[in-house]
């Protein structure tokens, strides 16, 4: 994707602009217009009245992580550490072990993401060669009063369901 560059004419060179005050008054005029409009009637504000009004989360929104499973419920993750390697926040902690169910040889024994450190960049999702991790739960609000609780473990991530259908998700990826 090529970067979109829009060249704007350089401003501030004319004598009128150099006097500052005129431009400052113009700017103040703009802000005053907004102020008065909203003061007169505050129903046109560009705000969502969260939490009463909930946002509509698009499918390619990077929310909380989940680990995907095969149809038999075993994790898709093979503990290749690609996500951990790529994570810029260094917040994924995996321990790998032998897998005995015959699907492959390797699987995570523990898989922890420290959501307090995660920056929701989605690199883990992109790095995963097995499509084993996604951020499509649509969960965007989670808080805790203690750091330990912000670490989510493998079982929890495996039990989370995606918030979208497969088609919506794939379309979301294309939109991105």
């Amino acid at each position: 994707m090529a970067a979109k560059v829009k060249q704007l004419p350089s401003r501030g060179g004319t004598p009128a602009e150099k006097v500052y005050l005129i431009e400052i008054f113009k700017g103040m005029g703009i802000t005053l217009r907004h102020f008065l409009r909203n003061l007169w009637d505050n129903s046109n504000l560009y705000v969502r009245h969260y939490p009463e009004v909930q946002p509509n989360i698009p499918a390619h929104w990077r929310g909380r992580h989940r680990l995907l499973t095969h149809s038999d419920g075993t994790p898709k993750c093979v503990a290749c550490f690609m996500c951990q390697t790529n994570c810029p926040a260094n917040c994924i902690m995996i321990k790998a072990g032998e897998r005995t169910d015959g699907i492959t040889e390797k699987m995570p024994v523990s898989f922890t993401i420290d959501l307090a450190e995660c920056i929701y960049c989605g690199y883990c999702v992109e790095a995963c060669p097995e499509d084993a991790i996604r951020m499509d739960t649509g969960i965007y609000a989670f808080t805790s009063s203690n750091r330990e609780e912000m670490k989510i473990e493998m079982d929890e991530m495996l039990s989370l369901k995606g918030g979208y259908t497969e088609e919506e998700y794939q379309k979301g990826l294309e939109d991105e």
């Binding site: 005050l21 400052i24 102020f35 909203n38 504000l45």
Partner: protein
């Protein structure tokens, strides 16, 4: 000294000391809500007591409580603990006493005695203001230096050089004003502006000395460390500048000091350039002589005003999303009732004056003084609004731009203004 004297002293001192503090709430709320509206968002409107949000005022209460109960940390590395603690006190104290010499009403005559309506009845006037605000920068410098933090120190240095650069044009702008007014006493200056020009233009400083007004206002912004001149804080490059190491109430005192200073300098600007406490077109004498018609006009205007105000409250104080039995509508009803009761009380008083008061009695004097105080506070509030308005419009100056503006633009302009003013005054004799 009579009892009246003592009462008057108490009244004047408490007005001049507590009004700025009470205005903190107004300032902070206004800052936040104006910022919100300018940016098409709503500003704080969630905090409430039993659902009463008072248009965001309750948020201040919450913040105040939060700051008061936060852990007060003095870092290990702070060596000069005394100066470190002293710094916010200096800031705050200087801000409060800089308001002490500003008249908030015309001289009140009671029992044949005249009372100058300012905190301290001295004649030093504008010089006092210049001196004290100059002193307040010590708070910032001490804070920055004693914090033993490079960001704080840089902030303090910036602030020091900024104050030097802007105090000069400010002082020069005042000089040209003094040439016109012929006095440094702020009461005299305010009274001077009570006259009318050609019978219908009020002789306000802004009309007599527009250039001085611009220079003074710009410099006053810089003195208060307000955007666009808040380089001492410069959170994008200095984290928070001089108050970086401060927490809890010590931080709060800095924060309040800033707003009190803003209030004081708004008051000075109003006094110097916008007629002070004067109600435009109506001089104090005129009001005192015609107290009955004045009371009557107010009696009529107030309910009309309240009617529209109530409509505005109804329109804006409601939930902006579908909601059954919107509690905010009920909230609005309560507010409107309260205001109507307030208006009712005032109406009763006005009726009483209409019925019993004679021109040129104590009651008339008091009423006029009250009206002037209200006018004064209204003007100051508008000026505060300008402060806020500017802050949310103009981005911060770069440091070199700030110095260039101060030394290369404002200083020559101020000098030029003095010469021109002087020439005109001499020519007109």
């Amino acid at each position: 000294m009579t009892t009246l004297d003592i009462v008057m002293v108490i009244v004047r001192v408490s007005i001049s000391a507590f009004v700025p503090l009470c205005f903190l709430a107004v300032c902070v709320t206004m800052e936040r809500r104006v910022a919100g509206f300018v940016q098409d968002r709503s500003g704080p409107n969630r905090a409430g007591i039993y659902g009463f949000r008072a248009g965001g005022l309750v948020q201040n209460l919450a913040d105040g409580i939060k700051l008061a109960f936060k852990e007060d940390i003095i870092s290990e590395h702070v060596e000069h603990k005394f100066l470190y603690v002293l710094a916010p006190i200096i800031s705050m104290a200087a801000a409060i006493i800089s308001f002490a010499l500003i008249p908030f009403a015309d001289t009140l005559v009671l029992d044949g005695k005249a009372y100058v309506m300012q905190g301290i009845p001295w004649d030093t006037g504008i010089l006092w203001f210049l001196a004290v605000t100059g002193f307040s920068v010590y708070g910032i410098i001490l804070a920055g230096w004693s914090s033993t933090n490079k960001y704080s120190l840089l902030g303090a240095l910036r602030s020091a050089s900024q104050v030097i650069s802007y105090e000069i044009p400010m002082g020069l702008a005042v000089i040209s004003l003094l040439i016109v007014y012929g006095s440094i006493n702020l009461s005299d200056i305010a009274r001077f502006q009570g006259q009318n020009w050609l019978g219908f233009i009020p002789m306000w400083g802004i009309f007599l000395q527009p250039l001085a007004a611009v220079i003074f206002i710009v410099a006053a912004f810089a003195e208060c460390n307000r955007t666009p001149f808040d380089l001492a804080e410069g959170e994008s490059e200095l984290v928070a500048g001089f108050h970086l190491e401060y927490s809890a109430m010590k931080f709060a005192v800095f924060f309040m000091g800033e707003y009190v200073a803003m209030f004081a300098s708004s008051a000075v600007i109003v006094t110097l350039f916008f007629g002070g406490y004067n109600i435009p077109f109506f001089s104090t004498d005129f009001l005192i002589r015609n107290i009955k018609p004045v009371a009557f006009v107010m009696l009529v205007i107030l309910p009309v005003f309240m009617f529209y105000f109530a409509k505005w409250i109804r329109r804006n104080n409601r939930s902006q999303y579908p909601r059954e039995n919107d509690p905010r509508e009920a909230e609005a009803t309560v507010y409107i009732r309260c205001f109507w009761i307030l208006i009712g009380v005032i109406e009763v008083f006005l009726l009483a004056i209409l019925a019993f008061a004679q021109p040129d009695t104590a009651a008339a004097h008091l009423l006029v003084a009250l009206m002037q105080i209200c006018t004064f506070l209204l003007k100051v509030t508008l000026m505060l609004f300008v402060y806020v308005w500017v802050r949310w419009t103009i981005p911060r100056f770069r440091y070199d731009q700030l110095q260039i503006l101060g030394w290369q633009k404002l200083l020559p302009l101020a000098l030029l203004n003095i010469f021109v003013t002087g020439a005109i005054v001499v020519a007109l004799g």
